[in-house]
């Protein structure tokens, strides 16, 4: 479980996150949603330690992450897997080397064990025969799957996904969403997803946090979200034609 307590973050005098508190549950897919510029990416970057919070705390199963230094954070960071928006695969490495990378750097496994583990992760994301290819030689959907394989290579307790469906066609998006849900259930990870894809929200939304103007505006699940009477949330959810039709029905 990840618990955020009263965090504030600003840049050059401009407040981006204002007193946000929330609990991201273990074994669930936790979504952070919000419009562009609402602060959801900054929140995720604060959670993983890419940005330091100005005030408040971030706790990983009771361990106060925000007050630790670089070395103190290492044990927690090794329990984190992250899927970046663009995949963030290392260009100079093949698919197999990318997935093996965290194992090579952070584990004491032998070469054979690392290859075996990387192959297992690649099979788990349905990419069994692309080991020798470079990131520039594979499609966007495949890149995401390789990135997921790399994220789960170290058996993470916490899985972060930054806009996992961006740039993907609807069918591939569903495959990625289903994969994330399966992995969350299988490994009982605390999964946090930053998205504005309404299909993902409706499919995976077990614990949704809606951020608006840097504040926690609404929380609930995908069943409750359609009945919400929050005007800002409504205008975000029902901005698209499909969702408007769904509301009419």
């Amino acid at each position: 479980m990840i618990e955020v307590k009263g965090i504030k973050k600003g840049f050059e005098g401009r407040t981006v996150l204002d007193d946000v508190s929330h609990r991201f549950e273990k074994g669930k897919v936790n979504l952070i949603i919000g419009g562009s510029g609402s602060g959801k990416t900054v929140l995720m970057k604060c959670l993983v330690g890419l940005f330091e919070v100005d005030k408040g705390s971030i706790e990983y199963d009771g361990r106060n992450f925000s007050e630790l230094d670089f070395d103190g954070r290492k044990p927690i960071r090794r329990e984190i897997g992250m899927l970046f928006q663009g995949g963030a695969l290392f260009d100079s490495m093949t698919v197999l080397q990318n997935v093996m990378f965290p194992l090579t750097m952070l584990s004491d496994l032998t070469e054979e064990e690392r290859i075996e583990r990387a192959n297992f992760c690649l099979q788990r994301v349905n990419l069994p025969s692309s080991n020798h290819l470079y990131p520039s030689e594979i499609s966007g959907g495949m890149k995401k799957r390789v990135a997921i394989a790399r994220a789960i290579a170290m058996n993470p307790k916490y899985l972060y996904c930054d806009e996992p469906n961006s740039g993907l066609d609807p069918k591939t998006s569903i495959v990625i969403d289903e994969l994330i849900m399966e992995l969350t259930e299988e490994y009982q990870t605390t999964t946090v997803i930053n998205t504005h894809d309404m299909n993902s929200v409706m499919t995976m939304g077990e614990n949704i946090l809606f951020i608006h103007k840097g504040k926690k505006w609404w929380t609930g699940n995908s069943d409750q979200i359609l009945q919400s009477e929050n005007p800002e949330l409504d205008s975000f959810i029902f901005a698209g034609k499909i969702m408007q039709k769904l509301r009419k029905n």
Partner: protein, 246 residues
């Protein structure tokens, strides 16, 4: 104020490189790869530039030797000392600032804008150590060899030019390059090379590491890396010459 801010950030960046590495075995293999990337791939351009530098110095020195009292073997001595003291360490490192510096800055800049550096940091890997330290060590070890090669090739180029144009007999040139040789000059050149190698790699990685934005900013970081490295090489060339030779 911006200069002070950048200087502070540069020193914090340098300090962060020397945190304990996650795995030395990985670093060792990266250092070997970087030695190939920085050193071996630069051999061609270094040799080409050096041979022509030696050739031009020979012909220009002969052209300027108008006093019949000055013996002709002085040409060989001038070529040798010019190559050892100044041309090989400084010009070759300026060329490497362009070739290697821009490549390093764009490689790390691209990694920054495509979130590859963020990925390293989230894994708990010291991104500056992993990306910068192998390049720095590799450059500091391999560039002295490049400069030594440049010295030999330059002196050889001078001999070839003298032979081809017939401006200086071979025996005179060889006598000149052996005349009053000071081994300390090579030591001085090696000291300069190591300092310049540090400057090129640290400045280029620094510029790449703090790139913000997209492709345009990566290009700008690459340009800044070359300009800043070149200017600092010239400044430190003067400082080291003053400190060591004066």
């Amino acid at each position: 104020m911006n200069i002070l801010k950048d200087l502070g950030r540069y020193w914090l960046f340098i300090a962060s490189i020397f945190r304990r590495p996650e795995k030395w075995t990985v670093y060792r293999s990266r250092i070997a790869d970087e030695m190939v990337s920085i050193g071996i791939t630069s051999l061609g351009i270094v040799s080409l530039i050096s041979i022509f530098m030696g050739a031009v110095i020979t012909i220009q020195t002969v052209y300027n030797l108008v006093n019949p009292l000055v013996p002709l073997y002085v040409v060989g001595l001038v070529v040798r000392d010019s190559m050892i003291i100044e041309f090989s360490p400084t010009i070759i490192m300026l060329v490497l600032a362009g070739k290697v510096g821009s490549s390093i800055a764009s490689e790390i800049g691209t990694m920054r804008v495509t979130e590859q550096i963020d990925a390293l940091e989230i894994m708990g890997i010291n991104s500056t150590g992993y990306l910068v330290l192998p390049k720095m060590i590799a450059a500091i070890f391999i560039t002295p060899f490049l400069v030594l090669i440049s010295m030999f090739v330059g002196v050889f180029g001078g001999w070839v030019a003298g032979e081809l144009s017939g401006v200086i007999p071979s025996a005179e040139y060889i006598r000149g390059i052996q005349y009053q040789f000071l081994p300390f000059n090579v030591t001085f050149a090696m000291i300069k090379t190591v300092v310049f190698a540090y400057l090129v790699t640290s400045i280029s990685t620094f510029q790449g590491f703090y790139t913000e934005g997209g492709a345009l900013e990566v290009g700008r970081a690459s340009t800044r890396a070359v300009v800043h490295s070149s200017v600092l090489i010239l400044i430190f060339d003067y400082i080291l010459t003053q400190l060591i030779l004066a």
